[in-house]
């Protein structure tokens, strides 16, 4: 049993007032540990809302520094942060928003080498990355560790997300392997409406909070997709695939893989 101070009761009062959450739910949130992979377009709103909610421990992993072109959507970074490591910028904002939160930063890329080690310590993982190699890596590591996570992807005016918990359909059940690198649109071809990142990131943050509190139904065995031009939201039913290479009956992937494919930020950095 946690003893909230008067100040904390006040800070979290709108959660505590929620019948489904209450003091008990807020305690679960305050004891929760969430890893946010990527302090970018998705990671920014995710980290902000988890911090505001009082998630006890937030881990942030990102190897990049803030670039001016990030500010169009990565709202946790401000103009004066350009050139600063993203994890340092994010940590500072989280601490200013809510000093209750313990922030751990990893100024590095998630790789086959460090993924299990880092993810192991957390209750829930949020994929806020911008490239397929790491999306598949997060999936495989979480399946192997039986760790729930939220997948998120955005492109142009579209977004998609699913939540994995052990035994539910994983990202590979739907997308067996990364697309061939030459088929993936280049950054300049791709682009994204900044607010889409907020739309999707806040859904992912809500999923993390639902998981921690046990409230409601998660986006498991479902893929939620939306298009901001039409504001059509669609939930596609999915199921675990027997032939899934990582969670199926006869998995062919038994250790983590570092796929090769440059992410936008990496190539941007090389150009500068």
């Amino acid at each position: 049993m946690m003893d909230f101070t008067e100040e904390q009761v006040n800070r979290y009062s709108r959660h505590i007032l929620l019948q489904d959450v209450g003091v008990e739910g807020q305690e679960k949130i305050s004891k929760g540990k969430v890893l946010v992979v990527g302090a970018g377009g998705l990671g920014a709103p995710v980290a902000f809302y988890l911090a505001a909610a009082g998630v006890g421990a937030i881990g942030i992993i990102d190897g990049d520094v803030v670039d001016l072109s990030n500010l169009q959507r990565q709202i946790i970074h401000f103009t004066e942060d350009v050139g600063r490591p993203k994890v340092a910028s994010a940590k500072e904002k989280i601490s200013r928003l809510n000093p209750d939160v313990q922030v751990t930063t990893y100024q590095t890329l998630l790789t086959a080498e460090n993924a299990l080690e880092i993810i192991r310590d957390y209750d829930f993982v949020v994929d806020g990355t911008d490239n397929f190699p790491v999306k598949f890596l997060i999936n495989d590591a979480c399946v192997m560790l039986k760790k729930p996570f939220s997948h998120g992807g955005i492109l142009r005016f579209d977004g998609q997300t699913l939540t994995y918990v052990p035994e539910s359909a994983c990202y590979r059940c739907l997308f067996h392997a990364p697309p061939p690198p030459n088929a993936v649109p280049t950054c300049s071809q791709a682009g994204v409406l900044g607010a889409i990142a907020g739309m999707l990131g806040t859904i992912q943050a809500a999923e993390a909070l639902k998981y921690l509190t046990g409230v409601g139904e998660l986006l498991t065995n479902k893929l939620l997709t939306f298009n901001a031009k039409t504001m059509d939201f669609r939930t596609i039913k999915t199921k675990r695939s027997d032939k899934c290479p990582v969670c199926g009956a006869h998995p062919t992937i038994t250790q983590l893989i570092d796929y090769e494919q440059a992410a936008c930020d990496i190539s941007d950095r090389k150009k500068h």
Partner: protein
């Protein structure tokens, strides 16, 4: 004539159609960036050409979304 559902919307097929043909008919410009689900089951890429669609089938094109290549 088979009536199927593609991404939640009804579609009528005049002729016997395979998944590979449906992908073409729906103007999927980059099939590599799409994963196909038939009646909630993942379909392997190599089986698109041999998978015949039948009345009542539900097909979902799931797009890879995850940022770009440099």
């Amino acid at each position: 004539m088979a009536k199927i559902t593609v991404n939640g919307k009804p579609q009528a097929l005049e002729n016997p159609t395979t998944l590979a043909q449906l992908i073409e008919q729906n103007n999927i410009i980059q099939p590599d960036m799409v994963s196909v689900q038939l009646n909630e089951e993942f379909i392997q890429r190599e089986n698109y050409a041999t998978t015949e669609l039948k009345d009542g089938d539900e097909v979902d094109f799931l797009y890879f979304m995850g940022g770009g290549r440099g």
